[in-house]
Symmetry: C2
Subunit: 176 residues, 2 copies
């Protein structure tokens, strides 16, 4: 899978100095590379009878939506606060300074449903972990996480311990 890595562009000092931002737009605009990424995710979860795929706003929608369709699952949004219009459950998570939160509709997942969570990037794992907790609070069975890229050096995987984690591209070291 690691050949997908060559489609990712690293932008230095974005969004702030010292950060090497992983730009996925250079992968998305190549039809074969984007298709391969989604196909690999679908292959990994195909036998798991997934009923709901949760995409984390907003780049998680890009992989979560086609993955849901390929798996024959429903697609569910995990969004920043105040974006979803109906009754929500909210889960907070820690940032370097302060906290942030994500929300899901309370009717997004039925009790016992088999669920995966998708985002483009696993960094510190705060958002993904919060989304996973929301799934479980709503009564879903959390069967795993899928990411295009995992930044190993931020150890986000530890926050998701005990779950199946698929990352198509693993970045070992902070920026080149």
């Amino acid at each position: 899978m690691q050949e997908l890595e060559r489609y990712i562009r690293t932008i230095k000092d974005f969004p702030k100095p010292g950060i090497g931002f992983k730009d996925i737009t250079t992968l998305l605009k190549e039809p074969q590379a984007f298709a391969q990424a989604v196909d690999l995710m679908a292959a990994h979860f195909r036998e798991k009878q997934i009923q709901k795929a949760v995409g984390i706003e907003s780049r998680g929608f890009i992989f979560g939506a086609p993955l849901a369709l390929q798996l024959g699952a429903g697609f569910v949004l995990a969004r920043k606060p105040k974006k979803l219009p109906a009754a929500v459950l909210r889960e907070e998570y820690a940032l370097e300074y302060g906290t942030d939160a994500i929300e899901m509709h309370v009717d997004a997942i039925a009790k016992g449903e088999r669920v995966i969570v998708i985002d483009d990037l696993l960094a510190t794992g705060g958002t993904a972990s919060a989304a996973g907790r929301l799934v479980e609070k709503l009564g879903g069975q959390l069967l795993g996480f899928a990411f295009l890229i995992e930044l190993d050096f931020l150890h986000g995987r530890q926050k998701l311990a005990g779950h199946d984690i698929l990352s198509l591209i693993r970045v070992q070291e902070e920026i080149a």
Copy 2:
């Protein structure tokens, strides 16, 4: 196609009093309904040899990404200012009070490429029209627009005049 409409939930007074918000999450979570919507969009544009599908942040990603894959096209992001990490072109559009803007990467579309623009909802047409202008400024051939829902009473279609416009659900009157 109009049977898709029954999957849309109208939330009164969101995000502010007097607005009847069209909630698409109730469609997305039903696998057959979501699949049907994307299939209908793909069928409409299949013979047009589309090379790039542009999704407008953020709900446009939900339909644009799987549509790009079904058409064998690359997927391109049109985002709010300051979100895209590399060099961008920006296009402003008028709001009721003031202006807003969207951006695309300057390398997102190659000269002469056949392009469509996707969003979940056509309201006043400001954002979609701006995205279309960006496509043309980047040298793309703008072959049409796809929306899940069109609010006819806001006349957004007029701002996109001269282009092929596909809307799967047309809402004639402001809220019931």
